[in-house]
Amino acid sequence: MYSGEHMGKTISEKIIGEHAGKEVSAGDIVVAGVDVTAVQDGTGPLAVQQLRKINLVEAKNPNRTILFIDHAAPSPNRDLSNAHNILRQFAKDTGVILSEVGEGVCHQRLVESYVKPGDILIGADSHTCTSGALGAFSTGMGSTDVAIGIALGKTWLRVPETFKINVTGKFQKGVYAKDLILHIIGMIGADGATYKALEFSGETIQNMTMSERFTLTNMAVEAGAKTGLVESDEVTRRYLKEMGREDEFRPIIADEDAVYERIIDIDASAIEPVISAPHTVDNVKSIKDLAGTKVDQVFIGTCTNGRLDDLEIAASVLKGKQRHPDTRLIVTPASKQVYIQAMEKGYIQTLVEAGAAVMAPGCGPCVGVHQGILANDEVCIATQNRNFKGRMGNPDSYIYLSSPATAAAAAVAGEIIDPREVL
């Protein structure tokens, strides 16, 4: 810094700089080391094929390379069973970690067991940005990019500009992190943050649990962002401790004078329960505008909202009640750990008694491959992150996205209602 002027760094600039071995700023293109690489059963077989094609069947960091069988788990047909075996064989050949059927959704497993503050994670799944809530730089890429990352332990990156999302104030009753992130996406649009990093900060974020923070960073990509990030703090430390890896904690914070492309201030107390209506995530509407919409299927789960607190909220809404006779209810815990804890707390019992079909940990019906494909003209309200036409396996169906409270309330009412009426 010969100019004598210190340029403050964003979280992305700090982490990428550390991994590139030099100071970097937004806009720079660098080759950077990666700590964790991951693929799933939809993208992994192609990654393996690419590596076999160029004879690079090896992993630079086998202990931090994970192949997840989660999107179609257990397998619904033989093509996918064979695809799964491509991953199993690659794990045998290279010594990388295989996350089997029943262990859970990749992003949930990554935050529970593999990613720590300050890491770079690249994953062949667009919601890889979820891990950013730990103060890691995590981003989704395609099969070939991640394949090369697995083999060489590095990747090329353009250092993103950052939008700082500064959230203050307390949520009203019935409003959750999911409503906040849907509100933000509705505000900036599905391509409003393309190529950017989103840093979530402010007192509301500081007061959030890790689970709530994961809901925010998970959906950063739905605004086009490269990643979502939260500074690591005492909440992060406690979370890592619960996961049995407190020693992996490290504070990762942005400089006070970091340069942001845009600062967006949000008053959390002014947000109402919202829903993304078909067929784009940024088609965000107030619950009032949609109340009365009949619902055929409710799905509670996924990397966005399939964690313990989400199942707790759903169980509290459904306790002692029954699903509406015309409305199916599917619940999928995001991971084995979540599933076990939800059993211990009695949430699973409550949900099953209320009429839920509980699926094995994994993606469930989120990506339209199995476990709840919609019929023509059917309507689903889901706690997932996407409602694109055809997402749940049928282009002639309609998907609404909401918080677990709103979804659970719809399961009882058989139609969209304001969750505040039942909480």
């Binding site: 667009s126 395609g142 090329w156």
Partner: protein, 169 residues
């Protein structure tokens, strides 16, 4: 790069997601790309997969390829014989994947192009001619890094050739 390429425009709107390009209900075909390619973009235009001709162009609005990271999406567009995708903007992962699999993706103003227009694209000159309309449209050149990867035939070939990333001289 290569000679100018000619073909017909297939016009699509904004926000064409990877779920529309490579639908999740064909998840099981992901290890059988030629089969998967028979369904490319069918939820956006049912005519497309059976009537697209080698050399045609996909011409779209904003945010083409948003959604999942499935590299199968640009791969099957390429397998269907499409020469290049022209759009006002692309989602980040799709853009990167397209280059990695060797599918040119061009950012330009697509408003004036209509379905069925005859196009000629000169990748190295950065010019698109709409022969039907008699107009020229320019596009932003790709970043240098991406030109290198594209010229090597995609990322896997780039690494095979150089043994590592070789993004500058």
């Amino acid at each position: 790069m290569k000679e100018p390429i000619n073909g017909k425009a297939w016009k699509f709107g904004d926000d064409i997601s990877t779920d529309l390009i490579a639908p999740g209900r064909y998840f099981h075909l992901r290890t059988n790309l030629p089969e998967l390619a028979k369904h490319v973009l069918e939820d956006a235009d049912p005519e497309f997969p059976s009537n697209v001709n080698p050399g045609d162009f996909v011409v779209a609005g904003r945010n083409f390829g948003l959604g999942s990271s499935r590299e199968h999406a640009p791969t099957i567009i390429k397998l269907a014989g499409v020469n290049a995708v022209l759009a006002k903007s692309f989602a980040r992962i799709f853009y990167r994947n397209a280059i990695n699999v060797g599918l040119p993706v061009l950012i330009c103003d697509t408003d004036k192009v209509d379905e069925g227009d005859e196009l000629e694209v000169d990748l190295s000159a950065g010019i698109i001619k709409d022969i039907t309309k008699g107009i020229e449209i320019t596009f932003n050149p790709l970043p240098d890094v991406m030109i290198r990867i594209l010229n090597d035939g995609g990322l896997a070939s780039h690494i095979e050739k150089h043994g590592d990333f070789k993004l500058e001289d």
